[in-house]
């Protein structure tokens, strides 16, 4: 057995350092760094969420009641930056850090010191970014997309650009580490096509990160030199082109969207087979679908720019390429449903979130397909329809998957079971209020409400009020999540088994719960039937 080897070795090996500073700030342990990432991400989730509460409070009814329009713009900008770069991406890196070595039978990440650095950059990046809110001139207010010339009017270009650089460096190092780990440190017998889908999804995501984060860094550097060093990359008066920025930004931005959803696909592909007690349907098709989506993500960027006045040929090309994405995405959804078909299902909290993911992410995919149709997009573009679309994909997609993963692996991390009752309370509250929050925004967009406005005509009042109520309650529901986590980590008396879930397969379930500080110091002997995808024929 795999963990037998681990135990034998443990007697002469040190555990976690006792000193708090040494353990957490100087850590090179993938589990501790994974925990740091996850805790950081949770903190950012609540900070970004509080910005969203300000937005929804101001939009509760027509007229300006709470904040000035400029501050409102700071809130929308910071909400996006914090949620994307602070909450969703670090959460996936944290999950990858914790689980990839455990899933492939590796003792740690390939580059542990760099792992420490790539985490510890982030608190500095976000301190810098968030501190701009308290500075004279205020924080960035030109949208997270930073379109010039507007973004250059602000006084916080330099801290914003520097913070984005730091986040990019962190992401690139994290991605290099994950690729090096997966390609070099798999236990003997863990062939590429026997890896869990989550590991596959992260391998592909890491390549996307390395490909596009430097592009973002280039784009924001050009903003910086346009602002302070007299260049005219994006200034028409100096021979530049404001639309050039949008092309560069979305060449980063669209793969970025998939960076935030591919690991979620991986998570759902772990959770559903476990609770259906049936192997994932079409393993190879699932992996191939992730790879095709990743490839397509590089050739669809201008679908964010259908209204900038692209030539007809470009609009047609980007429309067709975008529509193609529906095919591999459809394959994934059909395969998840087929995995459930003929299974023996139970519905613990991780499974509930996974099922909600499949339905609600698909709704986000449907609106995505509608947005791809250029003539219709001339109406949808920059309206609340788009806001509804990407929140369905990112909140009920990415964030629901992260929450599912947390419930799924939490007993392995802490050695205790979380409260199933409160987990379900959290689920039902989240899934109801998130729909009250975002579904009416489709109607607002179709009726003609533009996004990023602090005030609106009274025709939009009723759905905005419903949406705000949903928003407040969805926000409050996440406090239940916090409570469940605190309880599970410090107060839960219920010990978790090594194989926490009856149907769980994969190497992570062969180590004890909680996972000891060091695992797989000797490579495990892999038995095919222990793996979720041990017998792959197709």
């Amino acid at each position: 057995m795999a963990h037998a080897a681990t135990h034998d070795h443990h007697d002469d090996h040190h555990g976690a350092p006792k000193n708090f500073f040494v353990r957490w700030c100087m850590s090179t342990n993938h589990k501790d760094i994974g925990t740091l990432y996850l805790v950081f991400s949770l903190l950012m989730f609540f900070i970004g969420g509080s910005f969203a509460m300000v937005i929804r409070a101001e939009l509760f009814k027509p007229g300006l009641q709470l904040v000035q329009p400029y501050f409102f713009n700071e809130m929308t900008t910071m909400h996006a930056l914090v949620m994307i770069f602070g909450a969703v991406m670090p959460a996936f890196v944290g999950l990858g850090n914790w689980m990839i070595p455990l899933m492939i039978g590796a003792p740690d990440m390939a580059l542990p010191r760099m792992n420490n650095l790539s985490f510890w950059i982030l608190p500095f990046a976000f301190t810098l970014l968030l501190s701009t809110l308290f500075m004279p001139g205020g924080g960035p207010a030109g949208g997270w997309t930073m379109y010039p010339p507007l973004s250059l009017q602000g006084d916080s270009v330099a801290p914003l650009v520097f913070a984005v650089h730091l986040m990019g460096i962190s992401s690139i190092m994290g991605a290099i580490n994950i690729i090096a780990t997966i390609l070099n440190m798999r236990a003997p017998g863990m062939d590429l096509l026997k890896m869990p889908v989550f590991v596959w999804s992260w391998l592909i995501t890491a390549f996307l990160l390395i490909a596009v984060m430097p592009v973002l860094a280039g784009a924001v550097t050009m903003l910086l030199t346009d602002k302070y060093f007299g260049t005219s990359f994006f200034n028409a008066a100096g021979g530049g082109d404001p639309v050039l920025f949008q092309h560069i930004f979305w060449f980063f931005g669209h793969p970025e969207v998939y960076i935030m959803i591919l690991p979620a696909f991986g998570i759902i592909s772990e959770v559903i087979p476990t609770f259906a007690r049936k192997p994932i349907f079409g393993y190879k098709a699932m992996v191939f679908a992730i790879a095709s989506i990743a490839f397509l993500s590089f050739i669809v960027w201008a679908h964010h720019m259908f209204a900038v006045g692209l030539p007809l040929g470009a609009e047609i090309f980007f429309m067709y390429a975008t529509m193609l994405i529906a095919v591999p995405t459809g394959v994934k959804v059909f395969n998840w449903v087929s995995t459930m078909w003929g299974g023996s299902m139970t519905f613990e909290t991780p499974m509930l979130f996974a099922v909600a993911f499949v339905i609600l992410f698909t709704i986000g995919g449907f609106s995505g397909l509608m947005l791809a149709l250029v003539p219709a997009d001339f109406q949808y573009h920059d309206s609340y329809f788009v806001v509804a679309h990407f929140h369905y994909v990112l909140v009920t997609g990415a964030i629901f998957a992260i929450i599912a993963a947390t419930y799924y692996w939490l007993p392995k991390w802490t050695g205790h079971m979380y409260s199933e009752f409160w987990g379900k309370v959290h689920f039902w509250n989240s899934v109801i209020w998130v729909n009250v929050l975002f579904f009416p925004q489709h109607f607002l967009g179709l009726a003609g409400m533009p996004r990023r406005i602090p005030d609106y005509n009274v025709a939009f009042a009723n759905f905005n009020m419903i949406s705000s109520i949903g928003g407040f309650l969805f926000g409050a529901s996440q406090l239940i999540f916090l409570g469940v986590l605190v309880h599970a980590v410090w107060f839960s008396k219920k010990k978790a088994a090594d194989r926490v879930w009856e149907g769980a397969k994969g190497l992570e379930w062969t180590v004890p719960s909680p996972a000891p500080y060091h695992t797989f110091e000797l490579p495990p002997v892999i038995h095919e039937d222990e793996l979720a995808h041990g017998h792959v024929e197709d």
Binding site: P62, G63, V67, Q68, P69, Y70, N73, A141, Y147, P149, L150, Q153, A236, A237, P242, V243, R277, K278, P279, F281, G282, Y283, A307, V308, G309, L312, E315, M319, Y320, L324, V327, F334, V337, M340, G343, S344, M345, T346, I359, T362, L369, L373, P375, A376, F378, F443, L446, A447, G448, M449, P450, R452, D455, Y456, N457, V458, A459, N462, G503, D538
Partner: protein, 316 residues
Amino acid sequence: MTSGGIRIKAWVATICALFAGAAWANPEPGQLNMTRGVTEWSSEPYFLNNVALGVCIVIGIVVFGAMFVAMFRFRKSRGAVAEKWSHNTTLEVVWTTIPVIILIVLAYLATGGLKSFADTTNSQMTVKVTGFQWKWRYDYVEYQGKALDKVGFMSKLDKESDETRQLKSGLDPNAVKVDGYNTYLINVDEPLVVPVGTKIRFVITAGDVIHSWWVPALGWKMDAIPGIVNAAWTNIKEPGVYRGQCAELCGQDHGFMPIVVKAVPKAEFEQWLAQKQQAAQPQPPAQQQPAAPAPASSSAAPKTAQAAAPATSHQG
């Protein structure tokens, strides 16, 4: 018939109308679907929207239906025993092919609408639209082949909305009405006046940052970008007042630069145009100053205003 029966009928009619979005060109409380619009082209996005929505609903019913059946039938608590199979090539081929066919149909429909939109030739009138922080300027460039001069004006948020929208103004947005229709934040001091039944070419640009000119009833929006001139067209079928808003984040008052298009019969438009030309005519040269874009009136005129130079067109 009881009043309850009538009320139910009224409700059903209202709900049908809300989904159909047919009669309403401007936003209505509770509106659930896109407007059909009032132009020769605006039914294209409306039609595509409805077709795509229908396709998505059908697929949704099939997929989610299968999922709910699975969740009901294959529960461990009902004694379901997990099966062992994990792939089925025929099925996988089928559900890759069917979406491809659906997509081809949608792509065909969308391409047609796109081509007709891209054709701005044979227009009978040209209006230049320039976005500024935070107002629009309209210049009438040409009508029925005759070049126009000196017909142009700024169009900004009406005074009543502007007073009401100030933070803690204490004024009620519900009270801002024109002819019984609430115009809070969607009314201007001077609307763009255009004739119906005329193919109007818009050339769209901006003087400071990027804006986007969007009137839902016309069926499209087009970004107004400093240094670039974009073109679009419309041919409005019915006289009326059509309202829209800036759709690209352009700074603090992005939410407060509405667009109002007043479509009138041709004769009425020609009369209006003649009046405008006359008003511009007898002015001595010294008085021409106010006709300029007048960024001076905007205290928040951006530093980049000199970047306006909208002449460097590179796109059609």
